[in-house]
């Protein structure tokens, strides 16, 4: 049990559970409780089945749990229950079968984007987007601190801070240029923070080399804004620019890991 708690994915799952619990505390919804249960269960069960199919030795499904929790926190809670279930199944399917040595795509991101493309489901970021830090309101500090908690895993345990910082730097630079103003809110936006500390630095789909980590983070930050301008032109505004750019980054950098 103690060994289990030392695993970074288990720690990440615990922090994600904390974020989820905060949502229930702030705004309880029976639908959201069922949705997260189904998303995590579907991820764990499908991981078990696909590992059996691949004849891989079973292990504690910490990555599947984290994937299910991320999907539950990002999928519109008003959507039918089959959407988070299918997003989890697609995520784990991609993790197990779209791989060259290691899996290529961030599992939660690929699961979410497939449900967007197939069913028109929207990525709402409902579980994180409201946790905005208001420096004049002390009460917002606690939710914001809980939102930041996964950084312990991605920055301290996984040492992926180069990816996070380079992404935030390029993203902030873009926003500054576009809106012609410098604002700390570009970096403190809860959606951007959750994406950059939880989804972006996933260790299996990102480079280990320090320079490549910087290039990867910069590339994703660059492409986010590019997609934000391009998607509306092609009338595909329901594609999330953050998640789409991460998947493109995964695809282009998987040979450079």
């Amino acid at each position: 049990m103690r060994n289990l708690l030392h695993q970074s994915k288990v720690q990440l799952s615990l922090f994600l559970l904390l974020i989820y619990a905060l949502n229930l505390f702030a705004n309880f919804s029976q639908h959201a409780v069922i949705s997260v249960f189904l998303a995590v269960s579907a991820a764990v069960l499908s991981d078990f089945i696909f590992l059996k199919v691949r004849r891989v030795k079973l292990f504690f499904p910490s990555a599947a749990i984290a994937t299910g929790l991320i999907i539950a926190l990002l999928t519109d809670p008003n959507l039918p229950f089959y959407i988070p279930i299918l997003a989890s199944v697609f995520a784990i399917l991609a993790k197990n079968f779209i791989r060259i040595g290691r899996h290529i795509f961030n599992p939660a991101s690929i699961g979410l984007i497939i449900t967007v493309l197939l069913f028109g489901a929207s990525v709402s970021w409902w579980g994180v987007a409201w946790e905005i830090l208001d420096l004049t309101n002390f009460q917002t500090l606690v939710p914001f601190a809980i939102l930041l908690s996964p950084a312990f895993v991605s920055i301290y345990r996984m040492k992926r801070w180069r990816i996070i910082l380079s992404f935030l730097l390029i993203y902030g630079l873009w926003q500054t240029l576009i809106f012609q103003k410098i604002s700390v809110q570009f970096f403190l936006d809860p959606t951007v923070i959750f994406f950059s500390i939880v989804m972006l630095p996933e260790p299996m789909t990102t480079p280990n080399n320090h320079l490549r980590q910087i290039l990867f983070g910069s590339f994703v930050g660059l492409v986010v804004i590019f997609f934000a301008f391009v998607f509306p032109v092609f009338n595909i505004s329901n594609l999330d620019p953050l998640i789409s750019s991460l998947l493109l980054g995964n695809l282009l950098f998987f040979r450079l890991r």
């Binding site: 240029l177 012609q180 951007v192 320079l211 660059l222 505004s237």
Partner: protein, 148 residues
């Protein structure tokens, strides 16, 4: 050798960032008309009705209500120069921001910001087009304004 290639790629990315950023910034500046600039000054969250002006008689107004289930109507069609008013009846704080989430770049004038329950936001649309927006605090709540 591999390191040199990576450095070159990094330099290329940096140049692209700066060049692209300047390009988009320049584009955003060029698309602002004087009338839009004056509209921005009317955009702060308010629950007060502004005093009538001579142009108000010719200006139609569309009302969008935000409830717990989202924006209603989800799409409104107006003429150039008409005003859209958003009422927050969701019981929570909310925002009206330009698509896409979270970068809000499609139509920066639609970044009206936050409004609490019972408050309203408004914007006069001076250009034809279709403008998508969302509640930044719950990006599944979306809507669009078509200006003819």
């Amino acid at each position: 050798m591999n390191q040199k290639v990576l450095l070159a790629a990094g330099a290329a990315v940096l140049v692209l960032v700066i060049a692209g950023g300047l390009l988009f910034a320049n584009k955003a500046n060029n698309t602002k008309t004087p009338s839009q600039t004056s509209t921005v000054q009317e955009l702060s969250p308010t629950s007060e009705v502004q005093s009538p002006t001579p142009t108000d008689a010719e200006q139609n107004e569309a009302t969008v209500t935000l409830t717990s289930t989202g924006f209603s109507p989800k799409t409104v069609t107006i003429k150039v120069g008409d005003k859209v008013v958003w009422n927050n009846e969701s019981g929570k704080d909310a925002t009206v921001n330009s698509a896409p989430h979270p970068v809000h770049t499609s139509y920066p004038l639609l970044n009206l910001g936050g409004f609490s329950d019972g408050e309203t936001l408004e914007l006069v649309f001076e250009e034809a087009g279709t403008y998508n927006y969302h509640n930044h605090l719950n990006a599944s709540q979306t809507g669009s304004v078509t200006v003819e």
